[in-house]
Amino acid sequence: MTKYKTHLLVCGGTGCRASASDDIVENLKQELENKGLQDEVQVVMTGCFGFCEKGPIVKVSPDNTFYTQVKPEDVTEIIEEHIIKGRQVTRLLYKDPKKKETVADSKHMDFYKKQIRIALRNCGFIDPENLDEYIARDGYMALGKCLSEMSPKDVVDQIKESGLRGRGGGGFPTGLKWEIAAKNEADQKYVVCNADEGDPGAFMDRSILEGDPHAVLEAMAICAYSMGATKGLIYIRAEYPLAIKRLIIAIDQAREYGLLGKEILGTDFEFDIELRYGAGAFVCGEETSLIHSMEGLRGEPTIKPPYPAEKGYLGKPTNVNNVETYANIPIIINKGANWFNKIGTEKAKGTKVFALAGKINNVGLIEVPMGTTLREVIFEIGGGIKDGKKFKAVQTGGPSGGCLTEKHLDTPIDFDNLIAVGSMMGSGGMIVMDEDDCMVSMAKFYLEFTVEESCGKCSPCRIGNKRLHEVLEKITGGKGEMEDIQRLRNMSNVIKDTSLCGLGQTSPNPILSTLDNFYDEYLDHINDKKCHAGQCKDLMTYFVIEENCVGCTACARVCPVGAIAGEKKQSHFIDPSICIKCGACEERCKFDAIIVK
């Protein structure tokens, strides 16, 4: 990296690539060549910068200028102005919506200010397809340290002392898990990386793999050393082609450099990694399901114990951690457990990556210390609610989590606090909702997901979730009765209490938390047959406002079911018994004469 004076870092995360960041890279390279600057300026496609809302991102290093929403055609201007003339292209800089002024350096943006990037430390800084860049940022130093200075037990102790807990949802202490796997003797042990990110709304694992694949490989090797394993497996979603590609490149490079394979770094430590592909089953995020899936079976969970650390892949001791957990490992080894355990709260050390999405200004991937409050995340980092609307709820933990409200905003985020308020950390999805979101529909949305993703092995999850969904359908369909609430509660509690695996044990959470926090909204649906958010179609009625209607007949002509009657130039009328609430009339009316209530 030394020979170039300037680097142009272009975000190569999935979001930015979807907005043509590939073309930006191409154009930049072409333009630099045109100007004869190809030996002075290097274009690097990096992993995700996190600020997806403003993507595609182009960052200039070393001056840290942060260009947002760059289009391929902006490239000429960036080269001519910034690179050649040394002048920032102001129109592409980030504008602080509060102060109404441009901020060039990402360090000074609200979005980044409160973040501490540990797991994401290299994302957006290095070319993930180039091992030298990883090494230049202390890559594989931790593995070297482990192999040369530390015994396997030392490694386990460090991780235990660091207080790191699993980032996949459960929050189980990582060091303890490693210790159990290390203690179980066997002729073969396995280290598994769970990269089957299934929470619909979380994409941190993907971003890490796309932006910093070697961090995961290095961590797996360290784990293997600590427990005496020689084989590693990464179970990755087949729907993540870019992450797969970068992992394959990274594994090849690591083998070439002697960082995987036999006699790693000149020692007698041996370890290699293979990929296994998921095939679209959320339940495979559960570790026993994941192991069965890797064995070529239906991804059904089995009862624990035995835990994978005793009997895992092919019946051998197996350690399973998720991507983000592994991404924390090398830096803990490098900087020491005491550096890491000073970050965060009493019971939750370090940081957590969240995928911030929904009705929020700054959609993106963020990493904050444990203990940061929801308010800080949503209103400072996230920049508040989109279009100036009112905050209504934030959903954390995906389908296993719950919807939290205004009164929870000052809760410091950690595993236990979120559970205490009826939600969950989960893998780190954080969906913000505003006044237009119906919370009953939201619960229904998650249940639909669980019904689809239930493996079917145990009765409460297989049938119970379906029944929960049906009751919610009934309520949003305007047929709800008060006794349904009691039924929802009882079924939810029993499903949680009796389901075999984590999926069913948490699937009713979206219902229970909305019942707790938005009880009135359920009552509105049941008693008044009203959905004030305007999302439940069956509870809406379309009206013609007589005084606005000019009788142009446009609405009647567009109505697919002939529900609108009225003479030309006279006020029209919608027959609610025929109306299918498609909204076509409202869309067509130029006089705001049709409203929905």
Partner: protein, 162 residues
């Protein structure tokens, strides 16, 4: 009762055999084998599953059990341009369902179906990790961000002539 016959083209048979062989014909590699096979054929019809079962020396019932467990595997051919609508939470909150309904209306098919001309098929997927662009639609490998119901027609137009 005579034996059950499975009919298949010789070329296809050899392709499947090679795929299985590349995984040492191990039953534990079933999912990898199915991934590769679906990559080649676009879907996993019954005949293909029969041969995979035979090659991996496992029961075809188990193969079918695995194929139907995972939503990534399909037994019906996809359209020339497979359309996937992200129904992850971020996209849902930003109106993915309305987009989905519009695709269904325009193409006159349900999710999981393919248009009669074999051109488009419709499916839902969970979070592609482009939540900043929600709602997101994929046509083949191409990603469309911030799609509105009104934009559906435009997307389809792009592929009408191809």
């Amino acid at each position: 009762m005579s034996s059950i016959k499975v009919k298949i083209k010789e070329k296809d048979l050899n392709t499947i055999k090679e795929i299985c062989k590349s995984f040492d014909n191990k039953p534990g590699e079933l999912i990898n084998v199915l991934h590769k096979t679906q990559e080649k054929f676009g879907y996993l019809p019954a005949e293909v599953q029969e041969i995979v079962a035979k090659e991996l020396n496992m029961s075809v019932a188990k193969v079918y059990g695995v194929v139907t467990f995972y939503s990534f595997f399909t037994m019906t051919p996809k359209g020339k341009f497979p359309i996937s609508i992200c129904t992850g939470t971020a996209c849902y909150v930003r109106g993915a369902d309305n987009v989905l309904q519009e695709f269904k209306r325009q193409l006159e098919i349900e999710v999981g179906e393919t248009t009669d001309d074999g051109k488009f098929s419709l499916s839902c997927l969970r979070c592609v990790g482009a939540c900043g662009l929600a709602p997101v639609v994929l046509v083949g490998d191409k990603t469309y961000g911030r799609v509105s119901p009104e934009g559906v027609k435009e997307i389809l137009e792009e592929y009408k002539e191809i």
